[in-house]
């Protein structure tokens, strides 16, 4: 057949220019800077096995004035949309919110740093990281060398977001599968945007890189010295927080002022200064703000209480909003004289928006120093709490509005009886939404009473280390793909539900079992908020390397890109598959051969939706906690009925593996105990060697026995290909079971891939290494 030479379109030429295609560090793959439809066939193949599971928000669509339209029982809206497509549209919107939050964060940081250092500032990720931007290189085909290159990348992301958002308009997309493909696209872009943001931060703020053993930093409100002026940072963007530290250092004030943070800004700030303190995760925000310990609250972006100035007023804290995304209706004092702003904040108790980081930093420091001596800060006593608790009639209204389904009223009445045990337990479950207090007909100040329940303990957490090093990947690539390291786990996202100890318990269990455990964001914080043997947290008990049994705090939300990046690095560095503009090949490799699993146990934000969905497109399953069913879309298979056909690339034959691995890619577990059983199963891959499979099944069976009342998992036979796969310790029992069900051995798939099983431009040769 004559070779068809395709003429490049103007758009393709433009993309090749943008990604500097002429520089041959690797051949440019089939999808540089992909548009909406370019990876659609990969998505459709994923969605064929992992079908969307929708729990619609509502029977109605209320998004245009043609309706409201009732979409229940097979009805379509005035535009023709059905309920599944409407739900997928809402999912896309959620993923776009998440993606745009990170991309805009990255865009802001880039603008800030380019202003400071120029667009030509080199990207240097340290001695042990040559593959500096695996997501960017894989998705766009560009090898970024400077901050200016990152700007090219983020502009591509912005453009795609616009097209994707456009598709949610009235009278556009009409297929739920296509909306899912778009959600997967948005979420893949999210990982690109996150990578831009964190590379820029590492380069611009000199955050740790090419190092595993980052400092152990203090966490918990007891670590904050309340006798000093306290500046509390809330949000995600470190531009202002790092400038505050610079200001304090330059003016000899760092010993005189406490800088503490909540949520990801706290993590970022400890990457800049190991003397900064982490108050805790998002769930502690309202609680801590209401203690009034903070003299100045500095907000930046994402996951901040939107009523922060109102809360500040209640306790006399002054609020400075530093980013245009969240200005709370405050007067913009950016162009004012610094001393005038300080005077108004100190004397008139005013809050302001200050969009200049240097000015915001100076004002924060000066206001904190001046107002702290005037303010009376203290936690309430047990006697005071007992008196306040006496107002509670335990009417149950608080329980009705509790998203985490417990009755704080039960705890409050116990406090009135001088018993603090229950409320201490409840404080650990509290997600800090404040709805209970708002609903209370007797105006019981629940959060204030909770001060007596709050543990005054401090904990140690390792400062975020950034990307996994290339050298680490070279060491573990083989054991991960062979299965002898049983899995790479990523505990990500918010941490609120159902119990704050859950994440630490899971990390402890799997690190002991020699899984590699990576963490980011609030999940990284709560993992450190429980002490195990010898009073040590998981960060003190386990090594910080990306190796069997390691526990790594990778960093903040945007550092999630380093986890997806590590999976890509395994395909590129270990398996030597080219990654440049070669997303489909990378994702296929990860899905079939890298035993990784994300755990978003307490996820609640839209960013968590896009982070998780981005992992899904790359072939990484994500397990969610029960509350996260509120995202209302999962990707589930039906193991007994679905098509588990793959291509054996070695034999060039399509084979029915019969093996549901991974079984689901977006899944909800009802309890921590069940999650402990599900996680090892979701790390099983068709590529496992007999030794690796036997190790993985050993964990699956032993955890099943521990948490499910003994016996063998009902589906264990589906994961046994030959007798050699059976773990030695369970050989007798498993063999007896297999005999009982007339199990027959099957040939392991030599080189499993989905390439060749669906229409794609990628040739089979591309996955053979």
């Amino acid at each position: 057949m004559a070779e068809v030479v395709k003429e490049l379109t103007r758009k393709e030429k433009e993309i090749r220019e943008l990604v500097r295609a002429e520089i041959p560090w690797e051949p440019v793959g089939p999808t540089p800077m992909p548009g909406i439809a370019d990876l659609r066939s990969w998505d459709m193949r994923l969605l064929k096995t992992y079908k969307p599971w929708y729990a619609p928000f509502c029977d109605l669509c209320c998004l245009c004035t043609y309706g409201k339209c009732d979409l229940s029982q097979g009805r379509r809206g005035a535009c023709g949309l059905d309920i599944a497509t409407q739900q997928a549209r809402m999912i896309l919107l959620a993923c776009l919110m998440g993606c745009s939050a990170h991309a805009a964060h990255g865009g802001h940081i880039l603008e800030y740093l380019i202003e400071k250092y120029g667009a030509d500032k080199k990207i240097d990720m340290g001695t042990y990281i040559e593959l500096e931007a695996p997501n960017i290189r894989t998705v766009t085909g560009l090898k970024p060398e400077t901050l200016g290159d990152l700007k090219t990348v983020i502009e591509y992301v912005y453009k795609e977001i616009t097209h994707l958002l456009d598709s949610t308009h009235f009278g556009q997309e009409g297929s739920y599968l296509d909306y899912e493909s778009k959600a997967l696209h948005a979420s893949m872009l999210d990982h690109v945007g996150m990578e831009v943001a964190d590379i820029a931060q590492i380069v611009g703020f000199d955050f740790p890189t090419s190092v595993a053993d980052t400092p152990l930093v203090d966490m918990g409100w007891a670590s904050v010295d309340e006798s000093k002026p306290v500046i509390l940072l809330v949000g995600h963007n470190p531009a202002t927080s790092t400038t505050i530290i610079d200001y304090l250092r330059e003016n000899g004030l760092y010993d005189k002022v406490e800088v503490a943070g909540i949520c990801c800004t706290a993590l970022e700030t400890t990457r800049y200064s190991d003397r900064a303190k982490i108050v805790g995760p998002l769930s502690r925000q309202l609680f801590y703000v209401r203690t009034g310990i903070a003299d100045v609250i500095v907000t930046d972006e994402q996951c901040i209480r939107t009523d922060m100035p109102i809360e500040g007023d209640k306790v006399g804290s002054r609020v400075i909003a530093t980013l245009d995304k969240a200005m709370y209706g405050l007067e913009d004092a950016t162009d004012w004289d610094t001393e005038e702003i300080v005077k108004r904040m100190v004397e008139d108790k005013k809050h302001f928006a200050i969009l200049n980081t240097k000015k915001a930093a100076e004002v924060a420091a000066k206001v904190a120093l001046q107002v702290a001596p005037q303010r009376r800060k203290r936690w309430i006593t047990e006697e005071e709490a007992i008196e306040l608790a006496k107002k509670c009639t335990n009417c149950g209204m608080c329980e009705r509005v509790c998203p985490n389904l417990f009755s704080i009223g039960d705890g409050i009445v116990q406090v009135a009886k001088r018993n603090f045990d229950l409320i201490k337990e409840q404080f650990n479950q509290c997600i800090g939404c404040g709805k209970c207090e708002q609903e209370c007909p007797n105006k019981v100040p629940i959060f204030k009473i909770m001060q007596v329940a709050a543990s005054k303990e401090t904990w140690k957490i390792r400062a975020g280390r950034g990307a996994v090093m290339d050298t680490e990947i070279r060491n573990v690539g083989a054991p991960i793909t062979l299965g002898t390291i049983p899995g790479v786990l990523a505990f990500v996202g918010c941490s609120n539900y159902p119990d704050i100890d859950d994440v630490a318990d899971m990390v402890y269990e799997f690190a002991r079992r020699k899984y590699i455990v990576t963490l980011t964001g609030c999940a990284a914080m709560v993992a450190g908020m429980k002490k195990f043997e010898n009073g040590k947290t998981v960060y003190e008990l386990f090594p910080p390397e990306f190796d069997a049994g390691g526990v790594l705090n990778v960093g903040s939300c945007v550092s999630n890109a380093h986890i997806s990046g590590a999976a890509i690095k395994i395909a590129n560095i270990f398996a030597a598959l080219p990654l440049r503009a070669n997303y489909e090949v990378m994702a296929d490799y990860v899905l079939n051969r890298v035993g990784a699993c994300g755990i978003a146990w307490g996820a609640m934000s839209q960013k968590a939706a896009s982070i998780g969905t981005g992992f899904n497109r790359l072939g990484i399953p994500v397990l969610l906690g029960p509350h996260s069913s509120k995202y209302r879309r999962l990707y589930l298979s039906r193991k007994e009925d679905d098509d588990w056909t793959v291509m054996d690339a070695r034999k060039r034959e399509i084979v029915d593996s019969g093996e549901p691995s991974p079984e689901h890619i977006a899944y909800v577990c009802e309890t921590k105990e069940k999650a402990m059983v599900m996680i090892p199963k979701l790390c099983i891959r068709k590529n496992d060697t007999p030794q690796g499979r036997s190790i993985k099944l050993n964990h699956y069976i032993s955890l099943y026995k521990k948490y499910m009342g003994g016996g063998l998992p009902e589906d264990v036979h589906l994961f046994i290909r030959r007798d050699a796969d059976i773990p030695l310790v369970y050989k007798k029992e498993v063999r007896a079971y297999l005999k009982e069900i007339d199990w027959q051995p099957k040939e392991p798939v030599g080189l499993p891939t989905l390439i060749g099983t669906y229409p794609t431009k990628v040739p089979l040769e591309a996955v053979i290494h």
Binding site: W53, K68, C69, L636, E670, V677, M708, G709, G710, E714
Partner: protein, 183 residues
């Protein structure tokens, strides 16, 4: 059934809501009329107890009285085994719902899909999502019921919000007695 406003396009704000079942006799009738009912047991059943009796034991009494197969979700199986009962099937809540929405699924007994699924003890945020799935994607072949202490609007049949555990216990005990009687 919720009241649907006359000018529904302009006024409709609600959802199709479940029918509230306050009479245990009526509830028993609905269960016994089903050809292939299924009981889905959630992890709250091993946390909740009423007057010292574990909620799971009430659920197992219902299964026995009406001869309904039970599906243990989460890690309920462990407690069932402790109580000397083997679940007829083990699925997580989202998995069993994923199967139930397929009209061609053969059911936990491999005899055909179920025509009534009864939820009990799945935590409310998750149970509500499960009921939403079935309401929208299984309404042609499946009815849903919940026997939890609180009202679930996405079910076809739901108990009301019981103010006291004793009222709920009373309902469940009468239901069990009626199931035994009418079987």
């Amino acid at each position: 059934m919720a009241v649907v406003p006359f000018h529904r396009v302009n006024v409709l704000t609600g959802i199709k809501a479940s029918r509230i079942i306050e009479d245990p006799v009526q509830c028993a009738d609905l269960i016994l009329k089903a050809r292939r009912p299924l009981l889905v047991l959630g992890a709250k059943l091993i946390e909740w107890s009423v007057d010292g009796k574990l909620a799971l034991e009430y659920a197992l009494d219902i299964a026995r009285a009406a001869r309904i197969p039970a599906c243990g979700t989460a890690h309920v199986k462990g407690k069932m085994v402790e109580l000397g009962v083997s679940p007829d099937s083990v699925y997580d809540a989202v998995e069993i719902v994923n199967a139930l929405k397929d009209p061609d699924w053969r059911g936990v007994k491999k005899e055909g899909n179920h025509d009534l699924v009864i939820f009990l003890g799945v935590r409310s945020d998750l149970e509500e999502q499960c009921l939403s799935v079935l309401k929208h994607f299984a309404y042609k072949h499946l009815r849903t019921m919940t026997l939890d202490k609180y009202y679930f609007p996405h079910a076809n049949y739901s108990l009301p919000n019981f103010k006291k555990d004793e009222q709920w216990r009373g309902f469940l005990e009468e239901l069990i007695a009626n199931l035994r009687k009418e079987r």
